[in-house]
C-alpha cells in the first residue's frame, strides 16, 4: 500500500537533489580560474531553480497537492511573490548602482 | 486565633523603612536644600569633593532600604483581591507597578554613588553622573502615579455593603497622583517650580510620597485589623 507513495517521494527527492547538483555545473560555467564574475544569467537561473525547488517541496513534501484549492493558490501566489521580490530587488538594485 | 502568617510583620516594616528613609534623606547633603540644575560643573564637582562621606553613607542606606515599599504595595494588591471585582486585573496591575519605582530609584542611587566614588574625576563627568542621578530620581513618578490612580479606581469599583476601603481613601490617592504629575516634566525648566529643585518637582512630589506612606500605612493597618477581626469571628 505504501510503496507507491514511497516511490513517489523518492523520485521527488531525486529530482530535488539533481537540481541542487545542477548548481555545481552552473557554477563551473561562469567562473574563470577561480575568479568569480558577476552574471545576470547565473543569478536569475539560481533564483528560478531555487523557486522551482520550493514549489516542488510545497506540492509534494508538504502535500499541498492534496490540499484545498485555497492553499494551492496561496502557496503558488507566495512562490510568485518571492520571485517578484527577489528578482525585483536584484534588477532594481542593479539599475540604481549603475 | 489566626496562625502567624507574617502579614503583620511585613506591615510593621513600613514605619521602620519610613524612619530610615527620612534619616537617609536628611543625611544626604544634596536634598536640604536641593541642588540646583543651574550649578556649574565645577560647583557640582566641589559638592562631591566636599561632602563625599555623607553622600556615600546616605546613599548606601538608601540602597539597602530603597525597595522597602514593595511589601506595602503588595499588601494593597492583596486587599484589592477582597474587593467586589469580577477579574483580578487591578490587583495584577498593582503588582506590575510594584517594582518600577524602586528600580528607577536604584538607578539614580547608583549614579550618586558613582559620582562620589571618584570625586577627583573630571568635573564634566561628575556633572553628567549628577544630572543622570537627579533626573532619574525626579522622574521616577510614572509607576507611583499609576499605582495611586489604579488603587483609587479599585476602591471606586468596590461596590459592596461594607467596602474594603472608604471612598475618601480613593480621593486621597487621586490627589497624590495629581501632586506627583508635574515632576515628570522637570526637564522643561532649570529654574522655577518645575526645575528639579523647585516647588513642584521636589517639594510637592517628595512630600506627597511621604504623606502617602503615612496615610496609607495607617489606613492599611486599620483595614488589616478589621479583616483579622472578621476572620476570627467567621472562623
Amino acid at each position: 500500500m505504501s510503496t507507491t507513495f514511497n516511490k513517489r517521494l523518492l523520485i521527488v527527492w531525486l529530482i530535488l537533489t539533481s537540481m541542487t547538483l545542477a548548481y555545481v555545473w552552473i557554477d563551473h560555467t561562469v567562473d574563470q580560474n577561480g575568479t568569480l564574475r558577476a552574471s545576470t544569467v547565473v543569478t536569475v537561473s539560481a533564483i528560478v531553480i531555487a523557486l522551482i525547488k520550493v514549489r516542488i517541496i510545497f506540492r509534494e513534501f508538504m502535500e499541498v497537492r492534496h490540499a484545498p484549492a485555497l492553499l494551492c493558490r496561496l502557496t503558488d501566489a507566495w512562490v510568485v511573490l518571492i520571485a517578484v521580490c527577489l528578482l525585483g530587488s536584484y534588477f532594481v538594485g542593479t539599475a540604481i548602482s549603475s | 486565633m489566626k496562625r502567624t502568617d507574617g502579614e503583620l510583620i511585613l506591615f510593621w516594616t513600613l514605619p521602620v523603612v519610613a524612619i530610615i528613609w527620612v534619616s537617609a534623606f536628611l543625611l544626604f547633603p544634596g536634598f536640604l536644600h536641593p541642588m540646583s540644575p543651574t550649578m556649574s560643573a565645577e560647583e557640582v564637582a566641589a559638592f562631591y569633593r566636599d561632602d563625599t562621606a555623607r553622600i556615600r553613607y546616605s546613599m548606601i542606606l538608601f540602597n539597602w532600604f530603597g525597595v522597602g515599599l514593595i511589601p506595602v504595595v503588595i499588601l494593597l494588591a492583596m486587599q484589592i483581591r477582597r474587593m467586589a471585582h469580577r477579574t483580578p486585573i487591578l490587583s495584577y496591575s498593582l503588582i506590575a507597578c510594584a517594582a518600577g519605582p524602586p528600580t528607577l530609584f536604584l538607578i539614580a542611587n547608583m549614579f550618586w554613588l558613582l559620582g562620589s566614588f571618584r570625586p577627583d574625576r573630571a568635573p564634566e563627568l561628575t556633572q553628567l553622573l549628577n544630572d543622570l542621578a537627579w533626573l532619574t530620581f525626579t522622574v521616577l513618578v510614572p509607576y507611583l502615579i499609576a499605582q495611586c490612580l489604579l488603587f483609587a479606581l479599585a476602591i471606586y469599583w468596590d461596590r459592596q455593603e461594607k467596602p474594603v476601603f472608604k471612598p475618601w481613601v480613593a480621593h486621597f490617592n487621586v490627589l497624590i497622583a495629581v501632586a506627583l504629575a508635574p515632576a515628570a516634566f522637570t526637564a522643561l525648566a532649570s529654574t522655577g517650580p518645575l526645575a528639579w529643585d523647585g516647588l513642584l518637582s521636589f517639594w510637592v512630589k517628595n512630600i506627597a510620597i511621604f504623606v502617602w506612606i503615612i496615610v496609607m500605612g495607617i489606613v492599611l493597618g486599620q483595614t488589616i485589623r478589621q479583616q483579622r477581626a472578621l476572620e476570627t469571628v467567621a472562623a
Binding site: - | P88, I95, A96, Y143, L144, W157, E161, E231
Partner: protein
C-alpha cells in the same frame, strides 16, 4: 474566606437616552468594566506611544548610529524641546503599561495552563519597560538638558539611549516565548494557535536586533533595514493582532450580573 460574595448594592438600569449617561453607567456598573478599562488603556497607550516616539520626540524612525559627534549635537539642538516635553509625557503615562500587562496576564489565566505563565509574563513585561523604554527616555532627556555639555558625552548619551531601547532583547523574547507556550498548550481556545506562532516571530525579532550592538551602519545597525524596519513591521502587526484578539476575548467573556466568581479573589 471573604465575608460577602455578592454585589449587594442594587444596579440601576442603563439609561437609554444619552450617550454620556450610558458611558457613565458602563463605567460604574458594567460587569466587564475592569477588562474594558484595561483594554482601552492599552489602545490609548499604543496611540500615545506612536505619537510621542514618532512625531514629538522624533526618536523613531531612529537617526543614524554612523553620525559624527557634531551631527549628533546638532540633532539634540534641533529636537531639544520635543525630546524634553515628549519624554515628560512618557514619564507621566508610562504607568499605563501596568493595566496593559495585567490584561495580557489575565488572558493567560483564562487558559488551561498553570498560573505560573500569567505571573511570569506579568513580571517579565513589567520589568521590560525600565531598560526598554524609561532608560532611553532618561538618557535622551539628560542629553537634551545641557546643550553646552562636552559633545563627546552627548554622543555617549545618544548611543546609550538608542542601544538601551533597541538592544533590550531578552525580556521581550522570553516574554513572547512564555506566551507562545501558553497559547499552544491551552485547551480552552482562548487565542488561536496562529497567534502563538506569531509570538515566535515576535520573539525572533529580538534575535535579529542583536547585531545593532555591533554595527554602526548597514542593514543590521539600529536604524537598519533588517534590524529596525522589518522588525518594526512584525512588532506593529503583533501588537495590532493581540489588541484585536483581546477585544474578542473580552466580548466573549460572560460574567452575567450574578454573584461574583470566587475564583478571582
Amino acid at each position: 474566606m471573604s465575608t460577602s460574595t455578592t454585589e449587594s448594592v442594587t444596579v440601576p438600569d442603563p439609561p437609554a437616552d444619552s450617550r454620556v449617561g450610558r458611558f457613565v453607567w458602563n463605567l460604574r456598573y458594567h460587569p466587564k468594566r475592569e477588562l474594558w478599562f484595561a483594554w482601552w488603556v492599552m489602545v490609548i497607550f499604543y496611540q500615545l506611544y506612536g505619537v510621542l516616539f514618532f512625531f514629538v520626540t522624533r526618536v523613531q524612525p531612529p537617526p543614524s548610529p554612523a553620525w559624527d559627534t557634531p551631527t549628533v549635537v546638532g540633532w539634540f539642538d534641533d529636537h531639544s524641546l520635543g525630546v524634553r516635553a515628549g519624554f515628560g509625557v512618557v514619564f507621566l503615562v508610562a504607568g499605563m503599561c501596568a493595566p496593559m500587562n495585567a490584561l495580557l496576564a489575565y488572558s493567560m489565566r483564562r487558559m488551561s495552563v498553570s498560573r505560573l505563565f500569567a505571573y511570569s509574563y506579568l513580571i517579565i513585561y513589567s520589568l521590560a519597560a525600565v531598560p526598554g523604554m524609561l532608560v532611553m527616555a532618561i538618557a535622551m532627556t539628560v542629553g537634551a538638558l545641557r546643550p553646552d555639555r562636552d559633545p563627546e558625552m552627548i554622543h555617549w548619551l545618544y548611543d546609550f539611549a538608542f542601544l538601551s531601547f533597541s538592544g533590550t532583547m531578552g525580556v521581550f523574547m522570553i516574554g513572547s516565548l512564555v506566551y507562545l507556550v501558553a497559547v499552544l498548550l491551552d485547551k480552552n481556545r482562548v487565542f488561536p494557535k496562529w497567534y502563538g506562532y506569531l509570538s515566535l516571530c515576535n520573539a525572533l525579532t529580538e534575535v535579529v536586533v542583536a547585531p545593532a550592538w555591533i554595527f554602526h551602519r548597514g542593514a543590521f545597525a539600529w536604524n537598519g533595514a533588517i534590524a529596525w524596519w522589518i522588525n518594526m513591521v512584525v512588532f506593529v502587526l503583533y501588537t495590532g493582532v493581540f489588541i484585536v484578539l483581546l477585544r474578542k476575548l473580552i466580548q466573549r467573556e460572560d460574567f452575567g450580573t450574578g454573584p461574583l466568581p470566587e475564583a478571582v479573589r
